[in-house]
Symmetry: C2
Subunit: 338 residues, 2 copies
């Protein structure tokens, strides 16, 4: 059996955001109809190193028909060394016969499918006339959020980037952004004014759509700053204790999840759920149900909407399968006989 | 970062049983001192295909200092196709920095470390004067059990192989055995008489040491057949419902496990434990405690001893790390830049 072994550089060449977006949408829709499986998360901490490793596994049934997993390693002590702080590997198998299809670097797959999740949800739940997109967080994950959102939201004319960790830092980020969007994601939006905003409150006050992509453990955005009709795509919180926005924003908002149970356990919804601000029954539903037309998304222009994404192994697997197919077509990557 | 990608054929060239035995012993000893971690097992069934996939992950601390996992696929419908019924892949990471070390076929690693477990336990718990070794099961796993036991037990002069699924089948197996032991495992024991025995009762009655390595779900060996002083290494049962020997054999026996909790959940100990034949407190301990000298093994020559092995991810990881090192030294396997 020949399988593909793909490193990050090859995946950067192979994967394109529009294809990843299609795969992520297909998985969300399949999930709404019971066509995906998410298996129990395994998480382990290395206390002395402040490091954490986790294993996310699952399956996509139907035409995709794959199962597999990724093991991610977050070793903050690697900063400044030759080893990445955030790395890991993914393996994907054909569920018709259990044969391996490919092994690959997991970090780029994760970045791309997470960007796609942010972009799809922002386009789906924002007001139709949304013009201003705010991104909270100017770390390495942000560009994938921005790229996917700008691909899917032609109505956006202004992008405001806030870096709560270093308010001035977003200046350099925004300056390099048009070039990076072009070279890394093939996204060109000269019609969009891009600014860095050191004052988070000021940024929130003008935003129609807010994507949060920070590792924050205390709320950065207060409820009283938010104007009616704002949509939040909360992407950063994916572990117990992480939160980016005021739990009070959930009160009265129309809330969607990628997976309701997982979001109540480890997502942005965790704290509002555990403190009783929102009950599970008050969550409108999962994004796949909206994409499928099973439930409505935003129901009026004044409503606050929140989408909480915690990440699903099936998103990685569908993206990995696409990468293997594209690698074969393009003759890229290493082929190993296994 | 360069990592090794190793397929089964390369692993067959690279790994040698004595080195695997050393690694398995070291892991058992480390476990007794808290130097290993076994993370929660993930298991998924594909009911339509009668297939099952599982993920076993964990870590070995100390000098070995690795973590990782294997995903095993058991697809019985593959019989007679180009795809293996039993396959899977393993990934191992350096726990000092989370960097990947290697990716490899998991089936051969599993065979070798399982053989080592059987051999180590048989040598450790059998009477010092044990002369007759019985192997229950003549499937693809048996040769690794036989090879490791014959390496570690020079006193064995007779080997009796029983195949409960096809009593005659063991004839051909035994005929080819000396040659296969030599070519596959570099084990030569011309001093050992090797016979196939169609009558399980007759085989049990003459055995000093019995290794069971079948996928049985009903007991094959009855208590009344067993002579005093017999040792059992029960290797086959590693999932809920599997059992190879009469639960009554556990009554009054001195019982050891590779991992007490896991054996009570999914091992040969499962049924005796769940039916109250043996309580957890009546289990003597784990094999690593005996290897370490923390508790005694067999305490008299008339005693029945039982060792139950369910398999531990750390055994795979230590073997995988050794394979990567040997592959580098021997210049074998594919090198991938990840």
């Amino acid at each position: 059996m020949d399988i593909k072994v793909l490193n990050r550089k090859q995946l950067e060449e192979i994967l394109e955001m529009p294809a990843v977006i299609e795969g992520v949408k297909a998985v969300y829709e399949a999930k709404a109809e019971g066509g995906t499986a998410v298996w129990p998360l395994v998480e382990h901490h290395f206390p002395e190193l402040k490091a954490v490793t986790d294993v996310r596994s699952g399956a996509v049934m139907g035409d995709v028909n794959v199962h597999g997993l990724k093991m991610l390693n977050n070793f903050p002590g690697n900063a400044g060394t030759e080893f990445p702080v955030f790395g890991g590997m993914l393996m994907v198998f054909d569920s018709t016969n259990g044969a391996p299809l490919g092994i690959m670097d997991a970090s780029y797959i994760t970045c791309m499918r997470t960007g796609a999740a942010g972009g799809i949800s922002a386009a789906l739940f924002s007001r139709k006339d949304a013009k201003t997109l705010m991104i909270l967080g100017a770390g390495r994950q942000s560009i994938y959020q921005i790229g996917a959102a700008l691909l899917l939201m032609p109505g956006i004319k202004k992008l405001v980037v806030c870096d709560p960790l270093s308010p001035d830092g977003a200046n350099g980020y925004v300056e390099a952004l048009p070039g990076n969007l072009k070279t890394q994601l093939n996204v060109e939006r000269p019609d969009v004014e891009m600014i860095a905003e050191p004052d988070v409150q000021k940024a929130v006050g003008q935003a129609d759509t807010i994507i949060t992509i920070t590792p924050s453990r205390t709320p950065v955005i207060k409820k009283e700053w938010v104007k009616p009709g704002t949509h939040f795509s909360c992407i950063g919180a994916d572990m117990i204790g992480k939160e980016e926005i005021d739990p009070e924003i959930f009160r009265g908002a129309r809330v969607f999840c990628d997976d309701i149970d997982q979001c109540c356990r480890v997502g942005e919804t965790e704290i509002p759920f555990k403190t009783g601000v929102i009950a599970k029954e008050q969550i409108a539903g999962e994004i796949g149900q909206v994409l499928n037309g099973m439930i409505p998304g935003r129901t009026d222009d004044e409503q606050i909407t929140v989408f909480d994404a915690t990440g699903l192994a099936p998103l990685d697997l569908v993206t990995a399968k696409a990468a293997v197919q594209l690698a074969k077509e393009k003759g890229l990557g290493l082929t190993a006989e296994l």
